[in-house]
């Protein structure tokens, strides 16, 4: 595998809103920045495909700023190892990039939380963001029946997007309680922009049932999804559908931060007021430091970019906005806290680890993540526990830790030296 060296003053991992905002602030000061992302294009998940067609004035403004900036983008590159401090390796389509840096900003974003229930492994049961990404990247959903389920504001955004693309969204099943959502609405009164955004979304989705305190207990079908069973207020009922888009809010992507030895606290990268991690010269911004939404990611990215280039007063000027966005983040996470009934969804034969087909029954008797890995191979497949690890943290309260390089499966040739 051939190797290519890329040196950067500031290296940014992740081309979502936080990474882009950081890069913009870095190059604005005349310092060089490279942004590495494993997706084929920039924007991360929330701004996927929006470089060409921005859906909001805010996205348009940011992409305009980025277009005018001299940022070195390396797309389709997946960071998998740190051979020494100040150097990362990324696997690209045809070669391996040796990324050296003075300062590093981790903007690795978040993924959906998936929870096991009977039938969740059936084809056409996907993440909410998963189905949206599929449609954004070329799949025509018009005329298809979709149930959107799980938890979090993403469900509304996905339902709205799919409806505009011609899907028939039969229902949105939100597991959070009515009381929680009511408090969330009250909490938004102090944030005019967010309240009006939520209001507009709900108005556009007028024809779609928003079932509160409702969740999927099973998906049914032969070889692919045919219907789902929903539960609300103790009552169960079946709904026929082509697709189930189901995700339970978001969890930060921490693997790279863990590999670098950054302290993790409450399931997020721990940072100081300048977004610096516990490791010198390594910063983190956006959802990797805790789920808080787009605005928080942007302002954290800006602060990280400013701090990494020594522009302390400018960074400090953004603290009050960050505080406000963090309050929204806390409100968000309290509102969409998972109800304990979701722990009872898997049956004995329900698969929990999808890579190695490990059932709930086989895991239930283990006392820890480590023991489960040793005895059942849970979390030892290609996703390296990214899906099941998050699930067992919730199901069993296990502490899921210990990443090992490579943090992603790579080609054998990428691991060795010169070949």
């Amino acid at each position: 595998m051939s190797r290519r060296a890329v040196g950067s003053d500031v290296l940014i991992i992740g081309a979502g809103p936080a990474g882009l905002a950081a890069a913009y602030r870095v190059v604005e000061s005349g310092v060089g920045a490279s942004v590495v992302d494993d997706n084929p294009d920039v924007g991360g998940q929330i701004w996927r495909g929006e470089k060409e067609k921005p859906s909001t004035p805010e996205a348009a403004a940011w992409f305009e700023k980025i277009r005018k900036s001299k940022i070195n983008f390396i797309n389709g590159a997946r960071v998998f190892q740190q051979p020494q401090s100040g150097l990362l390796l990324a696997e690209c389509e045809n070669d391996v990039c040796e990324l050296s840096y003075q300062k590093l900003i981790l903007a690795t974003g978040a993924r959906e939380r998936f929870l096991p229930f009977p039938g969740w492994t059936l084809p056409n049961v996907m993440g909410a963001g998963g189905l949206q990404a599929l449609v954004k990247t070329g799949f025509a959903i018009d005329g298809k029946k979709v149930v959107v389920a799980g938890s979090g504001p993403l469900l509304l955004a996905v339902a709205d997007y799919l409806t505009r693309k011609g899907a028939e969204v039969i229902a949105i099943a939100e597991q959070a309680s009515r009381a929680n959502l009511f408090r969330f609405g009250l909490g938004l009164i102090n944030q005019r922009g967010k309240a009006s955004h939520a209001y507009k979304l709900k108005k556009r989705l007028r024809g779609v049932k928003y079932l509160i305190g409702c969740w999927v207990v099973a998906a049914h079908g032969v070889e692919k999804l045919e219907r789902v069973t929903l539960q609300q207020a103790g009552r169960r009922f079946d709904v026929a559908c082509d697709y189930l888009a189901c995700g339970f809010h978001l969890v930060p992507n921490l693997e790279l931060a863990e590999l670098l030895g950054c302290s993790i606290e409450d399931g997020a990268v721990r940072v100081d007021e300048f977004q610096q991690t516990s490791v010198e010269n390594v910063y983190s911004a956006g959802e990797s430091t805790g789920i808080g939404g787009l605005e928080l990611s942007l302002v954290e990215g800006e602060i990280a970019g400013l701090a990494a280039t020594g522009q302390t007063p400018k960074a400090r000027a953004l603290f009050s906005n960050r505080d406000k966005q963090r309050r929204f983040g806390h409100l968000l996470n309290r509102t969409f806290e998972l109800r304990r009934e979701l722990r009872d969804l898997p049956l004995n034969d329900t698969i929990v680890c999808r890579c190695e087909d490990v059932s709930f029954e086989r895991l239930r008797t283990s006392s820890s993540w480590r023991e489960a890995k040793l005895h059942t191979r849970c979390g030892m497949g290609p996703c390296q526990g990214r899906i099941c690890g998050t699930a067992v943290e919730f199901l069993f309260g296990w502490n899921v830790e210990s990443v090992r390089p490579p943090v992603f499966p790579v080609r054998v040739g990428s691991m060795g030296g010169e070949t």
């Binding site: 494993d38 997706n39 084929p40 998940q45 389709g76 997946r78 993924r111 959906e112 998936f114 492994t121 059936l122 084809p123 056409n124 049961v125 996907m126 993440g127 963001g129 998963g130 189905l131 949206q132 990404a133 599929l134 449609v135 990247t137 070329g138 799949f139 025509a140 070889e223 692919k224 992507n253 698969i351 999808r354 890579c355 190695e356 087909d357 497949g381 290609p382 996703c383 990214r386 899906i387 499966p409």
Partner: protein, 82 residues
């Protein structure tokens, strides 16, 4: 009409808009089972963002490619469940 690319999914020609992902082409071909799990279950796309590895297929004879992270190129030979 937007520009198109033509790929082959399990021997069937599929036309997709330029820039589409292989995962979208597979679904457009009417295939929902991308791979078989270690115990033989049908599996399809889950996360859509390169994390879960459920959507891996064979592309131009290279196995284990994540179809949700691979952009369609003209003439690509895509095979599911190999």
């Amino acid at each position: 009409m937007p520009e198109e690319v033509v790929v082959v999914v399990d021997g069937v020609l599929v036309r997709m808009p330029v820039g589409s992902m292989v995962s979208a082409a597979i679904m457009t071909a009417g295939v929902s089972s991308f791979r078989r799990s270690v115990s033989g279950e049908a599996r399809g796309l889950l996360c859509g963002m390169g994390i879960c590895f459920e959507c891996r297929v064979t592309i131009d004879l290279q196995p284990h490619c994540r179809s949700c992270q691979t952009v369609c190129q003209n003439g690509m030979d895509i095979r599911t469940c190999e």
